[in-house]
């Protein structure tokens, strides 16, 4: 297990490095003065000149990368062109909001997705299963923004039950905040839920057809206990991996959902920055989302190692 962890960690570091290089290269190709990106548009010409000397715009690409990377590791990511605020602070706020939304959506999706998947698998071939599978196909056909808009139409405009935008005024109660988060969380959670349901169902059906399930039933273990003790454990192992990957792609889904609901998260920040040519923010946001994504993958790998005893005990004998 230790060896597994170390190797995965090594991969994480390597991939982070590669991602940073990619982001750096992309940024180099945009029309934007790196010195200005560091200091913001309000900087004086003298400050710009000093910064340009520090960044060494006449030096080799590699050296410039190193300087940029060390700055990034010190969390010095420059100043926004749009708001003249340090980028790191904007990112922090946005990250907090995205995190809240993603956490709520994940909790919802994990519970509902695995639950529905189990129900569908146990009722295989019967009407309940068909209904669940049909809903999944439908749910996956619709893009997030379409679903979000429909939910807004339905719940905010026609029924007036829930507010259409994602953020309550500061200082409002938990309940009020939850009301605002509800629609975006549901929208964000939906593709995740559908994928999870389908996957759980398929995996569980496959697990239930395995020999060791017959053995367990031949031992006189009632079906409920068989599912809980024998089947689910095996079915959860690949499901955890898929769920982890889905959480990673929640970052992408969040971008669209945040835009639909005007939610001040990382995704919306990035899009607005792109549209407004606010390069320091874009660069930092890309780097941050890439890092989050890779760290998420690492955590998923670790979790997989922990729950699959075949990996834990060092593989085959």
């Amino acid at each position: 297990m230790l060896r597994y962890t170390i190797s995965r960690f090594g991969q994480l570091i390597l991939l982070l490095a590669i991602a940073s290089v990619v982001v750096f290269v992309v940024i180099q190709n945009t029309p934007g003065d790196p010195a200005l990106m560091r200091l913001g548009l309000d900087a004086t010409p003298e400050q710009v000149a000093i910064e340009q000397a520090r960044l060494g715009l006449d030096r080799s690409l590699f050296e410039r990368y190193v300087i940029w990377a060390t700055d990034a590791l010190r969390l010095d990511l420059g100043v926004s062109f749009a708001t003249s605020q340090p980028v790191i602070r904007m990112l922090g706020d946005a990250l907090f909001h995205t995190f809240r939304l993603a956490a709520l959506a994940s909790a919802f999706a994990l519970l509902l997705g695995t639950g529905l998947g189990i129900v569908a698998a146990l009722n295989r071939g019967r009407r309940l299963d068909t209904v669940i599978s049909a809903v999944c196909s439908l749910g996956l056909s619709l893009p997030s923004f379409a679903l979000g808009t429909i939910l807004i139409i339905l719940f905010a405009i026609v029924l007036r039950w829930l507010p259409p935008s994602g953020v309550a005024m500061t200082g409002q109660s938990w309940a009020e905040q939850l009301r605002h988060l509800a629609l975006p969380a549901i929208t964000l959670a939906t593709p995740f839920t559908m994928v999870l349901t389908r996957f759980m169902r398929g995996t569980l059906i496959e697990v239930l057809s395995q020999d060791y399930i017959v053995t367990a039933r031949a031992k006189g273990i009632p079906m409920g206990a068989v599912v809980l003790t024998h089947a689910l454990r095996n079915a959860l192992i690949p499901t955890v991996t898929i769920a982890g990957m889905q959480i990673g792609s929640l970052l992408a889904g969040a971008t669209v959902t945040e835009t639909v609901f005007s939610y001040p998260g990382l995704g919306r920040l990035t899009i607005e920055a792109v549209q407004g040519l606010d390069y320091p923010v874009v660069q930092a946001a890309l780097l941050l989302t890439a890092s989050l994504f890779l760290i998420n993958t690492f955590i998923v790998d670790l979790t997989y190692g922990l729950i699959d005893p075949r990996v834990r005990t060092g593989g085959r004998k």
Binding site: S209, D211, A218, K219, G220, I221, P222, R233, N234, P309
Partner: protein, 334 residues
């Protein structure tokens, strides 16, 4: 004479298929007496494993089991609800399977899989269950049981996995142990060891044994009575010695010939039975073995033979049963 432990009359098993139901087991009848040892022999696809699963009512998804009678100690098993059936499984009837690696749950320790029944059915506490499990592991000759208890199936050898399965099956002292091809996945030396173990356990525990196999050698050593299955039917049924000495169905005779060729002096040609068994669920007119039978006649293709007495306790389903003479006399020594 007391009622047999298992009494099955006209057992049928069918699979639902988009084109309609397909019969896999076409109406077989057999009894298993207490502490006896019975074998079902046949090719793969003959329905023998299905029959075994039917006794536990664990046939796969999409199948249907029905019979004129299916009784355990006089009690109708088909009428039992799932809850009562669950109480019977593992306690009065238990089963071991062909491929121990896939029959054991890869994510649970051996110890956990053995003690599961003890804690659930018998209500033992953790320590008591562990002690009993270690005892069972010793009984089935698993070396270093304390260490093995905490290991996972993939860490054990094939032979040891099979022994673990046997330990699991014996946990609650069942009246009947069903062994579905217990040695097929093992090498020859292990085969002999496992079969010897099963025989010994049978005697010591007074347990009945139902052995499912395609291997006549395994059957010859261990079973008192043999049923031969072909295409979902029993085509011959006799005491082991009688079957080997005086087979009355062409299929059995062909099987024995193949078997003897294998055991015989080197250089004797193997004569496999030409052709293949009928596909699952196909409508069969006449005798199912007719296409491959060396004694086939016109009558065989038109009229299906009925399983009937040839001699006392010896049944065969062939129009010409009773007319076959002895060609070879004895079962070769092991």
């Amino acid at each position: 004479m007391s009622a047999p432990l298992i009494d099955a009359q006209n057992l049928r098993i069918a699979f639902t298929h988009p084109d309609g139901e397909k019969l896999a087991v076409r109406g077989i009848s057999l009894t298993i007496a207490r502490a006896s040892s019975v074998a079902i022999v046949g090719e793969s696809g003959s329905g023998k494993s299905l029959t075994a699963l039917a006794l536990l009512r664990l046939t796969p998804y999409g199948s249907r089991v029905w019979a004129d009678a299916l009784q355990l100690d006089g009690q109708d098993m088909l009428a039992l609800d799932e809850k009562r059936m669950t109480a019977i499984r593992g306690r009065r009837l238990s089963m071991i399977f062909q491929n121990p690696m896939s029959a054991l749950n890869p994510v649970l320790t051996i110890g956990r899989q053995i003690t599961e029944q003890l804690r659930r059915h018998v209500g033992m506490g953790r320590k008591a269950a562990e002690a009993r499990a270690l005892e069972l592991m010793g009984l089935v000759e698993i070396s270093d049981p304390v260490r093995r208890f905490r290991q996972y199936p993939h860490q054990l050898s094939g032979g040891m996995q099979q022994r673990a399965m046997i330990a699991i099956a014996l946990t609650c002292n069942p009246d009947l142990l069903i062994a579905d091809e217990p040695t097929t996945a093992l090498d020859v030396t292990l085969q002999a060891q496992i079969m010897a173990l099963l025989s010994r356990l049978r005697e010591e525990l007074g347990m009945a044994l139902l052995l499912i196999s395609h291997d006549l050698g395994v059957v010859a050593e261990t079973a008192d009575h043999v049923h031969v299955m072909y295409a979902g039917e029993i085509v011959e049924s006799a005491a082991t010695q009688a079957l080997f000495d005086d087979p009355q169905h062409p299929y059995t005779r062909a099987l024995l010939k193949t078997f003897r060729d294998l055991e015989g002096p080197a250089g004797v040609e193997l004569t496999p039975i030409p052709g293949a068994p009928p596909a699952l669920g196909r409508q069969i007119i006449g005798c199912p073995f007719a296409p491959r039978c060396s004694h086939v006649a016109e009558r065989c293709r038109a009229e299906a033979p009925i399983l009937r007495d040839v001699r006392a306790g010896h049944l065969a389903a062939c129009h010409f049963a009773g007319s076959f003479s002895n060609e070879v006399s004895h079962v070769p020594a092991a």
